[in-house]
């Protein structure tokens, strides 16, 4: 589950990361253009001393479907949130498209965030707002403050919202309140919201952990569709190895904040499985 994430969002801090005062860092600079996303020596130590990520480095190529697996508390959620700085990393760099996200100022960070879609285990819809408004919030990074607050969304955004709702098959629910929808439908709204951002990168934090197996596959298929047909790079944390094997082009396994496996899904054999999940674990199939 989102153990790390939940910790960071708990009682201590209001999770609007741009309240953090960051030390001045050099402006984003061009890096070598070999990869889309580079994670360099990323470390996150929480205030209570928990080391959530320890010196993590990897690269994600354009168009990959990277699945991150690991036990609860292994650092999956923290890793995903460090990429768009919902959680401020303690040290290390996240470089995307030659821009150092970790060095971006607030304005730059918002412009970076609006290109990175994110979906969540608990969907994180605004429950009392209609589905359509929830989807439209995906455009907040592109629309001016007053237009969004007055609800004067540009027409093309409204059209896009309906198109995206159709894409995930729930256009008829556009005017329902978000909390009237089932879990699977809510997650599809979450995907539609992320799609509004026209993302080049999608972060999916345990997107199916709150769903039943059948719904899980339908949601994973939508994510796969984005990856295959629209070329969106996907970083997705998952609980079940069987799901990861089905959808991933590559798997990274985290254990206690460190990478214990990075490679082809087929290379995870019984021995590796026990390394990742512990000796007592038994693999469960999700079909």
């Amino acid at each position: 589950m989102s153990g790390r994430g939940a910790r960071s969002l708990g009682s201590t801090a209001f999770p609007i990361p741009f309240t953090h005062t960051r030390q001045t860092q050099p402006a984003p600079q061009r890096q070598d253009r070999s990869n889309v996303l580079q994670i360099r020596n990323l470390t996150k130590i929480y205030e209570d001393g928990t080391v959530a990520l320890h010196d993590i480095s990897f690269e994600v190529k354009d168009g990959e479907f990277l699945v991150i697996i690991g036990l609860s508390g292994s650092g999956k959620s923290t890793l995903l949130r460090c990429i768009n700085r919902l959680i401020e990393p303690t040290s290390g760099q996240v470089i995307w498209d030659d821009v150092d996200i970790t060095a971006a100022n607030q304005g730059e960070l918002r412009r970076i965030r609006r290109q990175i879609g994110m979906i969540f285990q608990h969907f994180n819809l605004v429950k009392r707002l209609p589905v359509l408004t929830n989807v439209l919030t995906g455009r907040l990074g592109y629309v001016s403050t007053w237009r969004s607050i007055l609800g004067r969304w540009p027409r093309e955004d409204r059209e896009r919202a309906f198109r995206n709702l159709e894409l995930v098959g729930i256009a008829e629910k556009a005017y329902n309140r978000a909390d009237e929808l089932s879990g699977g439908q809510q997650q599809r709204v979450g995907i539609a919201r992320a799609l509004m951002q026209e993302p080049r990168l999608l972060l999916a934090d345990e997107p199916v952990a709150s769903l039943d197996p059948a719904t899980s596959h339908s949601v994973m298929k939508y994510i796969e569709q984005l990856n295959r047909e629209m070329g969106v790079t996907v970083l997705c944390s998952l609980h079940f190895l069987s799901l990861a094997r089905t959808y991933a082009t590559r798997i990274i396994a985290l254990k206690a904040g460190e990478i214990v496996f990075d490679g082809d899904p087929l290379d995870i054999d019984d021995r590796r499985f026990k390394e990742i999940y512990g000796e007592e674990a038994v693999e469960v199939e999700i079909r």
Partner: protein
């Protein structure tokens, strides 16, 4: 658990149950202390000292023997402890409570006799409450008089009752002071009560008495009455013409809405308006204060945390002061009237709502905030789309509920001059106009009930 622990800690120095009992009989708790149960012994000793000190301070010497059951049971307790038997601590507490409640009973002057015997005294109040004067009829005054010569002369003027009604007739045309005199009345409204008055030669009027009682009359179905008066003393010894006068008051015409009703409606409106203004002003300011009083919003910086504690502390102090006390202060500040009440209720509403609002903010789900932030939204957009939709339903529910409370409170605040219906109610009670007071009380009950229902409905719908 606790017993074994304390037994281990304090090694017992006496093992003889009788000795322990004797020691506790001399000094309550001593046996327990010396047998290794220090905490229990000290509690017993302190209880005894406090109770006896209380009795001595208040000079309630006659209550002192009530400590004996506790004292004796404490000795028994010490003995049982040394023997390692279970003892009933509850009984020990109850025995200590015996004296405590006896003292409390006397200090608060509880008097059952007075409670029972005094009950009839509130009859006028209850009857006023049962007959609120929302409707009334016009009042008509009527009178009839008849001359009488006092003292009697040799040749008194003859009795000459006029033709017009109502009229009164006396049994003789003259009388001497102190003599009884029969008065007959006819043509009066049926079944009414009236008063008999004496008018002397220079027009001074006084109500007639027989002994110490006023002379009243009661008409029958035909509007007739008969009464006996005693001729009062007169100053002049020469025969002169005085008058006997019968006066009455009747309600005539159709029932109309009374002056009381107009006043009640007007002041009730004032009360509701007061509550409305106070709730609105209070809510606006409470929203302003609730954000710094929400821990989750203020955790990001030490200065902000300091601000959080200051705001919280301020709200707590304000909430501790009853609006009634604030009203007294504001009456001095801005003078008698509804404005003082509005100010008092506003200040209290800020404190009460500020706390509730900030708790609503503290309990919002972080998920939507995270999600909206991740879309690249700015801070205002995050608050608008992720925070406000989560907090406005509880905000509205708390505010409506507060309005309901403020209406109730504002009736009380009128008692200290803060305007509204309480001001009237208090005056009517002092003037012993209990029917009007009853009218006000029923109006308050009605409005409070209706508002309570409405606020419950609104809360049910928004949450």
């Amino acid at each position: 658990m606790a017993r074994e622990n304390s037994a281990e800690k304090n090694s017992p120095s006496i093992r003889n149950p009788s000795l322990a009992a004797l020691l506790s009989l001399l000094v309550p708790g001593l046996g327990q202390i010396l047998s290794g149960r220090r905490e229990r012994g000290v509690s017993i000793l302190l209880t005894t000292v406090v109770l006896l000190a209380l009795v001595a301070w208040l000079k309630f010497w006659d209550l002192a023997p009530l400590i004996l059951p506790f004292w004796l049971y404490n000795a028994w307790d010490a003995r049982q402890l040394v023997l390692g038997r279970r003892v009933n601590t509850t009984l020990l507490v109850l025995l200590a409570a015996l004296l405590t409640y006896s003292v409390g009973w006397r200090v608060t002057e509880i008097d059952v006799t007075q409670f029972v015997e005094g009950a009839p005294k509130i009859r006028p109040f209850v009857s006023g409450l049962l007959r609120p004067n929302y409707l009334t009829r016009e009042i008509e005054y009527g009178e009839a008089k008849s001359p009488v010569e006092v003292p009697c002369s040799d040749n008194p003027p003859p009795l000459s009752p006029g033709p017009e009604l109502p009229r009164i007739t006396l049994d003789r045309p003259c009388a001497n002071p102190g003599e009884p005199l029969e008065v007959f009345g006819e043509g009066f409204p049926p079944n009414i009560k009236g008063e008999l008055w004496w008018e002397n030669t220079i027009g001074d009027q006084s109500r007639l008495r027989v002994g110490r009682e006023f002379v009243d009359f009661q008409t029958d179905d035909q509007g007739r009455f008969q009464a006996q008066i005693v001729v009062p003393q007169v100053t002049n010894e020469n025969p002169q013409t005085h008058y006997v006068e019968a006066r009455y008051v009747t309600h005539v015409g159709p029932l109309t809405v009374s002056e009381t009703t107009y006043l009640v409606v007007q002041r009730m409106g004032e009360t509701i308006a007061q509550a409305l203004m106070a709730t609105t002003l209070g809510a606006l300011l409470a929203v302003f204060f609730s954000f710094p009083a929400a821990r989750n919003l203020m955790a990001f910086h030490p200065v902000a945390i300091l601000l959080y504690y200051v705001t919280r502390g301020m709200l707590n102090i304000l909430r501790a002061i009853e609006p009634l006390i604030m009203a007294i202060v504001f009456v001095v500040w801005v003078g008698l009237g509804p404005f003082a009440g509005v100010l008092a209720l506003t200040v209290h509403s800020i404190a009460a709502l500020g706390k509730l609002y900030s708790e609503a903010i503290e309990s919002i789900e972080p998920g939507p905030i995270e999600a909206i932030t991740a879309t690249g939204a700015n801070r205002i957009q995050v608050i608008w789309f992720a925070v406000l939709p989560q907090v406005w339903p509880p905000f509205i529910a708390f505010t409506v509920y507060r309005w309901d409370i403020n209406v109730r409170m504002s009736t009380i605040i009128g008692f200290v001059g803060g305007g509204g219906i309480g001001f009237l109610l208090q005056q009517w009670i002092r003037l012993t106009d209990f029917r009007s007071a009853g009218a006000a009380i029923w109006a308050i009950a009605l409005v409070v009930t209706v508002l309570d229902f409405l606020s419950r409905e609104v809360r049910r719908r928004v949450v």
